[in-house]
Symmetry: C2
Subunit: 398 residues, 2 copies
């Protein structure tokens, strides 16, 4: 094992007292007051910067990004099904392999401080296993730098597309970790059939579930109740995430409280990108009821939208913007969604800033957590498994 | 007059063909195909960058920023009146003169590309003329770099605060250009009295009006109708702006259409910061009816909110984010709000990229307008009145 190294003079979670972190074997071995570690080799002098565990990108679609390609005006029609069909056409006519788009995007995300990812991978029969194999290969390329979970995602539907279920099972056999789902009512038009299929698959493969739920209002809420039923019946407590869950934003708190309590009891996580043009899950209310909330970029320059950029600190800021937060405690809550909330949702072990945790960090100039969110300093330093991988906002190389 | 200079190889509004701009006397004298101006002194080689007219910050409060000060957690209570009282207390206990906060903030805004400002200045009797004089002095300090309009703003109310009207009149006599107003119903509790007072003041001083209108729903819409009545009766067509106008976001298009037509006919501009936690004016619908829309940062690190940063290109991106825009035409519409929409709202002459316009520009790396909004390149170059004032995102000095 390499000799211990030290990160000097950093302030974990923005605490006022600076400390030194002693690292060994890619983990935090000990934390000492600054100045007591002078005998050890210095990996990085933080000069009083704020130290956070690396950000968790809990929802994105690296497989379909158009990152690195020339600008492409969005050509989709207005409905969700139009967008699905449009994307299919766009991706079918690309000459750029997935590795040449997703790879540079992962490096860009690393430079901004994300070292944990959950990325959905389309399971579409037209592409067979090729698309999934390409994404598994991209993950392998960056496995020394980032932890990445993949979700077998039936973007175009599951029950209504013969062969998709088989493709998802094949993906799970290839090392994809999570069963995906999408709008059981709105896309497959058979909510109970869709949910039973994905819960059966998760039980059989002993894995978790992550369901895209855009269905709105009463319909979406009813589906969330059914997801809770099946989570309980399948014994999948702590392994289910509902992504987007716009419907939770359509009801007043007093009406939503029983469902929030149920989500908390079943440890079902809610992922929101905090979009501003639709209703969104009421993050503060859900957290007050004990529901775990995480966040993600979703689209990053893809055929759905050109708007994402993979910056999870900016995503925390967008969450604060979405709810009009300005208090320090609220800004910290937004930061929690892209750090510990994401780690809990993804079941990441050894996450945090305690001895024994993996040495995966972001350092940035800010007085405290609230200022970190507001200023979104782009000059970040990133350490992965005890190794400096980005400095001053720039990726240092694969 | 100084000899003509040239900005080489730039793409106005992102057009594909690069051109050279010949500048003389701080204005655009002519536009030529790139390469035909080699005899002239080169001010800046744009290397194919996108060229825009400088951004218009149409709504901010430079007088109350806490910019440059250590982080201060937001201490306001939940209501609008709580926030007003809290801010009063915060500003009363500052040791930092306005010039030391507003000055660096203006330099920061310049570096991001804003060279036109409309800034509201509190008229509060406790401060008398000192506060207004300080802001007029700050404007004078930067008069060689930026065009700034000031608004005499009755933050705490007008009719309900004896002496505020006199202070506003004194401000107008000192060179403040615009009469401000605030929630005629919600704060002064006398909508007709408040509106008559500010319209009378505007007519007497031959100036425009800019009204903060946070009042929501039916109440706010009713007030907008009354503002339209008085704009017509006072002959102030083209000189009235309604800032925020949240109420316009509370109604479906078919119901709002007659009012939109009326705003367009009276050339009343709507300013929205595109916040995400309240209803906002439906920008695309209003523009389709011919209503001029502009935008601003509003609070920039002040006692109301720590969230603003004065970046008007980011504000355009936030507008796109607010409405879920992803089409190139919509992204360009957002950019219009921070450029030509702002110029029309503020009545700025010689604005644009045609011969005869002032040489006030932002240059940035982007393929087209949509990408400029999405990427928000921070490495901008800014030219004020034919002089390089910021490069690579950094202000070059006063």
């Amino acid at each position: 094992m390499a000799p211990a190294q030290v990160i000097r003079n950093v302030r974990p979670w923005g605490q006022s007292a600076a400390v030194d972190l002693i690292l060994a074997g890619g983990c935090i071995q000990a934390i000492k007051p600054t100045g007591e570690t002078s005998a050890l080799e210095c990996l990085y002098d933080g000069q009083g910067q704020l130290l956070l565990p690396a950000f968790v990108e809990a929802h994105t679609h690296l497989d379909k990004t158009l990152w690195t390609l020339p600008w492409r005006g969005n050509s989709a029609g207005p409905t969700r099904n139009d967008r699905i069909a449009n994307e299919h056409g766009v991706l079918n006519h690309l000459n750029s392999p997935m590795a040449e788009r997703a790879g540079p995007l992962i490096e860009h995300c690393i430079a901004q401080g994300s070292l944990y990812f959950r990325s959905h991978v389309d399971a579409q029969t037209e592409w067979g296993l090729k698309h999934i194999e390409a994404m598994v290969a991209v993950r392998e390329t960056y496995a020394h730098l980032v932890d990445m979970q993949l979700v077998a995602f039936p973007q175009g539907g599951l029950l209504n597309k013969p062969g998709v279920a088989e493709l998802m099972r094949a993906a799970l056999d290839m090392g994809v970790e999570v069963v995906g789902g999408i709008d059981p009512a709105g896309i497959d038009l058979d909510p109970i059939g869709h949910l039973r299929a994905i819960f059966d698959m998760a039980v059989t493969h002993e894995c978790g579930i992550d369901i895209h739920l855009h269905d709105l209002g009463e319909l979406g809420r009813w589906e969330i109740e059914r997801i809770a039923d099946l989570t309980h019946a399948s014994g999948l407590q702590g392994k289910v995430m509902i992504s987007h869950a716009y419907a939770l934003g359509a009801f007043p708190s007093h009406e939503l409280a029983p469902l929030a309590d149920r989500l908390a009891a079943l440890d079902i996580s809610i992922m929101t990108c905090a979009p501003a043009h639709v209703s969104v899950p009421p993050v503060a209310m859900l957290r007050a009821h004990g529901v775990n909330v995480c966040s993600g970029s979703d689209s990053i320059r893809d055929a759905w939208s050109p708007m994402g950029n993979g910056d999870m600190l900016e995503r925390a800021w967008l969450m604060a913007h979405r709810f009009g937060w300005s208090k320090d405690a609220d800004l910290s809550m937004a930061l929690d969604a892209v750090t510990t909330g994401g780690a809990r949702a993804l079941g990441i072990e050894r996450y945090g800033l305690e001895p024994g945790c993996d040495a995966n960090f972001v350092l940035l100039a800010a007085e405290n957590l609230a200022e970190a969110v507001v200023s979104r300093s782009p000059r970040r330093t990133v350490i992965s498994r005890g190794r400096l991988v980005a400095h001053d906002g720039l990726f240092l190389g694969p």
